[in-house]
Amino acid sequence: MKLRAIASVAALSLAAMGSAHAVQLTVNITNLTHGQSFTPRLLVAHDATVDLFEVGVPATDALAWLAEAGVIDDLQAPASAGRNFQAALGGVPASAGALVSNPTNNWQRFGGPLAPSTTSADYAFDSGDFEFLSLATMLIPTNDAFAGLDSIRIPTEPGTYTYLLDAFDAGTELNDELNSARTDITEDVTGLPLGGYAVPGVAGGDVPTRVADLGIGSTGVAVQASGSTIVDGTDGPVHIHRNVLGDTDAAGGASDLDSRVHRWLNPVARITIVVPQ
């Protein structure tokens, strides 16, 4: 756990930084990208024992589920039970998107797909008396890219605080950039179709917020298909994503992503946190 809290208003007093008390935060997120959508957002207020991700450290199963498939809890994907962030953080949401309170954290899933160049609704989030705030959301369509806010210290001084988020690579899947809807290629050994957790392929190409259809027929970027199969692998630990390559051939080339649509330059998101009086 690192202490990377960065206040956006000048001169927060040390005294103010040191006190923690229950606060109802208002949080929103802006997708700053040209052609990447965001999956539902995981917001976590937590103590120093909780860490969603850490650069230089291999991703947890929970992060892999979020970064490869956009999955946070059992309600989204029963197959993820026991290995997702619901399992890692604890508790069971009373309903989809309900707040879950645990001894070391409060967590909540917010929203649906967030289209490029749009700002989410304002999320009312009870941060309890926890000191830190983290957020993660997958970039789709990608193999395992996510935007993350890593353990900022929740400001105690009332005000509006703004943070810019970079895109990270979970490192749990090779960035083949193959369309997960393809049926002409399957994962080696398992024979599973592309996409989703633990199988290669870009997830999210068919979400309603897509701005361009994915291509087909490409050979792969970071790993190439051999015949009708592809061998997945990892490229971790967690690191700043090197961006997607894409190509300009929707029926061939190296990638099923579009180099004119799906690339980004960091940062990819802005979150605004309002700390009430």
């Binding site: 990377r4 960065i6 206040a7 956006s8 000048a10 802006t30 997708n31 700053l32 990208t33 040209h34 052609g35 650069v55 289209a115 490029p116 160049s117 749009t118 700002t119 993350g148 806010l149 890593d150 900022i152 605080y161 703004t162 943070y163 810019l164 988020l165 970079d166 990270f168 701005v211 361009a212 050979t219 961006n243 390559l245 894409g246 190509d247 300009t248 051939d249 061939g252 080339g253 190296a254 990638s255 180099s259 004119r260 649509v261 799906h262 690339r263 980004w264 330059l265 960091n266 940062p267 990819v268 802005r270």
Partner: protein
């Protein structure tokens, strides 16, 4: 550092406080009187490899005004600035706002070059709650611009500076075709295209201001990867990464 605030890049430079000169020859020991004018210099450094910056819109204003907002459609002024490089309409739009204090057009800045020192002055009373907006086009693009957007420069002491590293926005008003006919800069002119600047047509993926994805360029457009854009007149040398500009504001009076 994973999460950085908008103001993370503020680097308070060493304050060189000006000392009041007491050399009055008349012998009357006049008390120092605070000037009614606060003056600032703004200097833009082009951090890119080969993207020239067009003339800049430099605006000092009160809180509450934004030339553009992420996720919203660009104004015609921002569209003109981002597509054609002219800050004129954007400056007019700013001047029409009740929060406007002063604005000027700054000179263009070449790639990897420190720009001119531009000077602006406001009533001293406004220095306590002051915002800075600077916008300038990357001219070898369809509609990319680098900017600081209503950033807080309140209470800057005389002689001190603040420095901001600026990302690159896509105005969302023109498709990023990278052709010789659609970009106003030297790359398009060198390719003998129409090099059109502003066009009222809004044909980007989304008519919303957002962060720029970078240019694709024609690199690797003819190999098996098909990564590049064969119709682009840009080369790999025209790429950039964020930040694209450094903007330094210094209070001089």
């Amino acid at each position: 550092m994973k999460a950085h605030t908008l103001k993370l890049s503020i680097l308070p430079l060493t304050a060189a406080l000006l000392t009041a000169c007491g050399g009055s020859s008349g012998g009357s020991a006049a008390n120092p009187v605070e000037s009614t004018t606060a003056s600032y210099t703004v200097q833009i450094t082009n951090l890119t490899h080969s993207q020239p910056f067009a003339p800049a819109a430099i605006i000092l204003h009160e809180p509450g005004f934004n030339s553009f907002i992420d996720g919203e459609a660009a104004s015609v002024g921002v569209e003109q600035l981002a597509e054609g490089g002219s800050p004129t309409i954007a400056l007019s739009e700013a001047a029409a706002a009740s929060e406007h204090l002063v604005s000027i057009e700054g000179a263009g800045v070449g790639p990897s070059t420190i720009g001119n020192v531009e000077t602006v002055s406001i009533p001293t009373a406004n220095a306590a709650n002051l915002r800075l907006t600077v916008m300038t086009m990357l001219v070898d693009t369809n509609d990319a611009f680098t900017a600081v957007n209503a950033i807080d420069v309140s209470n800057l002491a005389i002689g001190s500076s603040m420095s901001f590293d600026a990302p690159t926005w896509d105005s969302g008003t023109e498709a990023n075709t990278e052709t010789a006919d659609t970009m106003p800069g030297p790359a398009a002119q060198g390719a003998s295209g129409l090099a059109e600047g502003f066009n009222v047509l809004r044909d980007d993926l989304l008519d919303q201001v957002h962060f720029h994805p970078g240019v694709v360029t024609s690199a690797n457009s003819t190999d098996a990867s098909a990564e590049g854009l064969s119709t682009s007149v840009l080369t790999e040398a025209d790429r950039w990464d964020n930040p694209a500009a450094r903007i330094v504001i210094t209070r001089t009076q």
